[in-house]
Amino acid sequence: MSIDRIGNLFSGLSRRDLLKASTALGVSFLLPTLSARAAEKRGNERAKSFITLWMNGGPSQLETWDPHPGTAIGGPTQEISTTFSGVNIAADYPMMAEQLQHLSLIRSLVSKEGDHERGTYFMKTGYRPDPTVIHPSIGALIPHQLETKGLEVPPYVSLGDGQWPGRGGYLGDQFDAFRVFEPGRSVQNMRARVGDKRQTDRLEGLDILAKSFRKGRQYQSEKSLHQDTVERALTMMSSDQLKAFEIEDEPESIRNKYGDSRFGRGCLVARRLIETGVRVVEVTLNGFDSHASNFEAHTNRAADLDKAFAMLVQELRDRDLYDSTIVLCIGEFGRTPKINPLDGRDHWPNGFSTLIGGGGLRSGVLIGETDPTGMATDPKDPIKVQDLYATILNQFAIDPGEELMTPIGRPLHLCEGTPLMQLLDA
């Protein structure tokens, strides 16, 4: 075998090889931490997880979960009945119609941010953009507040090519979502570029250089966390848990049901990551910014979203993961009731839809209602995203009112909302 061969994801330097080589060579700081193996099978007391299906661009509520066919604002979109009694959704979502009884639907989400970047910031953090501080996304808060024992891959993962993945904000960059641009295909930069022996030699050389640099700089070096970061990266490279990012060993029938799209693969990987113990996963579906040809664009997006979302809910339920996993489908805002001359819809933060389920939340709850004439700008029973996130934190037994100190010395609540009692179990 060529010494230069580039191993595949799992045939690179194995954990055991690395430990053996590191010990034999005295490569001290590069020795991966001997943490307990992550539980391959999680027990009855499962830690809770959270999956966000992020609809990038702002999906139209009228073409997804809140259609108004036969009205002036409804356009050509038709509706279908669902397993959620009394709730109809757009006809492009027949598979979701089957699963809808397991979810709750909010049709009255409101925001004050009609710009993509600002809207995304608001809907991911629960705070409006503020030049004095960068808030962490809800996805970063959860692993910050809760321990993830035995996890060798990042606790917060963003799948797909999202423009603004969740960030750690004032918690630090180390809480940023770990980005995987092409889920299910490969995890970028995870393979050593050389064979085991050369990699060991390289690490040994790196160890000598790191030791040299530490001389006289012990305090500053430790503070820099450079070694810690490299150690964690090496641990991840040699972890069996990386298999969670791969979908090759999934039956073809399962993969087909999720769909061979970036989003479909992302949802399948999300399920695998949750099984491995990852706390938070964000899967992005791009292409909802339909200022022109709105209806065609939404039908195209539905082709990916319907099957992947439905399969995700189905599989989480089949695998007894649904009660411990909150699934949220949301975007930065909705789209205008009025159809513009380009057959498109523009930005509409005044009353749009989100689906939420699992994680012990009540299912079959319908909140809010939008005006079928499109005249009223405010929906009935408006819901703030802060309250939605307070509800989610509550399910993780995290107090939304807890304060954290920001780098500028300003205490901030984790979340400024209060839990939605309608969604909590009695």
């Binding site: 970047e117 770990f178 050389v194 000598i208 250089l209 305090y219 500053q220 970061t229 490279m237």
Partner: protein, 548 residues
């Protein structure tokens, strides 16, 4: 038959020898002193005086704090700091060879001056200043042209235009964002077709006065003296800005109205500055008045903010010391009342004003300071003492390189010749494409690039296993690694050259022994492969990724 063989092999041998000669000469280029030794630069008395004053201030401070300072750093390491700060990359091997051969006693100062005249300075620094004013955003589409603003800053730096004039134009310019690039500061704050005067007020105070007033938009500042009324008064200076077919303009008869947060009624707000009203001019548009007031020589916040930003770009962190609340480039405490009692920041600010806001001279002054040339190692064992040394700048701080510095340094380390505007078009294109791809994965720090941050696992993975390292170091005729391996006469030379190109220093005895022994023990690999592996270790070392 023999003649036939000779006829075949002779040209081939000649070509091979020729190629080897080219490779060798490229690896070790002849030394051309870029500086004309015959030309004697007049020592800038003002600069020297300022340097002496600030040096003395630090000496007094260390004495008072009962701290010893670190020893002087090796000059090539100071050159590395300068190159990272002014050009965003480590020095090339070509530059290092030339620096080594420069025998002038003040060569660091001369090199700093030359680096400031190199087009790479204006190009690199302009991006940093652009971020302070308009961040990294590309929107709003149509009315905001970030590229025009940045290119305009490049021009101002190339002309070394007084910084107060540059800022005045940014605050007060009218016209189209394409023809009058400074107006893009106004248009970057356009939201839903209207100029957001609150954003402009907050940004102006941060970028120009080095303080944060944004909290006061909604309530009185909890710690500083800023009141909500101050914020509204400042925002009113931008309250007459409108966009029209002629671009940005001021409507002089337009009142600035806000909705009262308590009564919810609309009320008119008059422009008002929070302090030193006497510095306001009597005439001009509201923005022109604000521009003159905020950059007035007696408005010490302006010069202190400018110095702090340049200091942060040179050292990697803001001058401010003490609690994290103050350790930011745009969060300076209020200046002390009175003159002559200030800190080193005040001394530099006074010198900056006296130089007519000369940015290049300010950079030269900071580069010549004793604190800029101290080593980053400490002889102290007690961590608390080391921490105090760092707080008092008695040891050079260890600062993580920003993403653009990491990628710039990786590309430079993998090229023997200097990558600059004279590089081959293909080299520059390769650099541009790779920079963008790398930054996308590594993460760009955006407008807050001078905040201290921890490294992340994806960044470590990208450095170790990413495409950029592999593509630019794997043994092929275009990369430096095989050329160094082939052109160097001995293993020691290979080692020295690789350490110089990546770490700007020669290997220590211990490092030399380690790598030479390793190579001696394992003869199964060829030299290009060994050099490739050595490069991997060097580029992944903390020393490479940190300014030190």
């Amino acid at each position: 038959m023999r003649w036939k063989s000779i006829a075949v092999y002779l040209p081939v041998t000649a070509v091979v020898l020729g190629l080897l000669l080219i490779v060798f000469s490229t690896a070790f280029p002849p030394v051309h002193a870029r500086v004309d030794d015959s030309e004697q630069h007049q020592e800038n008395a003002e600069l020297a005086s300022s340097v002496a004053q600030v040096n003395q201030w630090f000496r007094n401070d260390w004495k008072e704090a009962n701290l010893s300072q670190a020893t002087q750093a090796e000059e090539p390491i100071v050159l590395r700091r300068l190159s990272l700060a002014l050009h965003g990359t480590i020095p090339s091997l070509e530059e290092l060879r030339r620096f080594e051969s420069d025998e002038r006693p003040d060569r660091l100062q001369q090199w700093c001056r030359e680096m400031l005249e190199d087009p790479r300075f204006a190009d690199y620094f302009a991006e940093r200043i652009t971020r302070a004013f308009v961040g990294t955003q590309g929107e709003p589409f149509l009315v905001f042209r970030r590229d025009r603003f940045r290119n305009w800053i490049v021009e101002q730096l190339n002309q070394n235009r007084p910084y107060n004039q540059v800022v005045q134009e940014i605050i007060s310019q009218t016209g189209l964002w394409t023809g009058e690039p400074a107006t893009n500061f106004m248009t970057h704050a356009v939201l839903n077709g209207k100029v957001d005067e609150n954003k402009l007020a907050g940004k102006t105070v941060r970028a120009v006065l080095g303080q944060r007033i944004d909290c006061a938009q909604c309530h009185d500042h909890p710690f500083a003296d800023w009141k909500q009324q101050d914020f509204e008064g400042l925002a009113a200076y931008f309250g007459q800005v409108r966009l029209s077919a002629f671009g940005v303009e001021d409507r002089k008869n337009q009142d600035y109205k806000v909705e009262d947060r308590i009564t919810l009624e609309e009320r008119t707000v008059q422009p008002e500055v929070p302090f030193q009203e006497n510095l306001l001019p009597d005439s001009g548009t509201r923005r022109e008045q604000l521009a003159i007031w905020s950059t007035h020589p007696d408005n010490r916040r302006f010069s202190r903010a400018a110095v702090n930003r340049i200091w942060a770009l040179m050292f990697g962190k803001a001058f401010s010391e003490g609690a994290p609340y103050y350790a930011r480039v745009d969060d300076l405490p209020d200046p002390e009342v009175g003159e002559g009692t200030g800190t080193a920041l005040d001394l530099l600010a006074e010198s900056f004003v006296a130089s007519n806001y000369n940015i290049k001279q300010l950079i030269e002054t900071i580069a010549a300071l004793e604190v800029y040339r101290l080593d980053s190692t400490s002889h102290e064992i007690d961590d608390t003492v080391v921490k105090r040394q760092i707080d008092h700048w008695a040891v050079f701080p260890l600062i993580r390189l920003r993403p653009e510095q990491v990628v710039g340094s990786m590309l430079q380390a993998t090229s023997i010749k200097t990558i600059d505007q004279n590089s081959h078009l293909l080299t520059r294109t390769f650099k541009l494409i790779n920079e963008n791809d790398f930054l996308k994965e590594y993460g760009d720090f955006g407008a807050d690039e001078l905040d201290e941050r921890a490294g992340t696992v994806p960044q470590a993975l990208l450095r170790m296993n990413g495409n950029l390292f592999e593509e630019s170091t794997k043994p092929n005729p275009f990369n430096a690694t095989p050329r160094i391996a082939l052109a160097s006469g001995s293993p020691e030379q290979i080692l020295d050259t690789c350490f110089l190109t990546c770490l700007t220093r020669l290997p220590s005895l211990e490092e030399k022994q380690f790598f030479l022994n390793k190579w001696e023990d394992d003869k199964s690999r060829r030299w290009p492969q060994r050099t490739h592996d050595l490069y991997w270790a060097l580029i992944n070392s903390p020393e490479f990724s940190w300014n030190h």
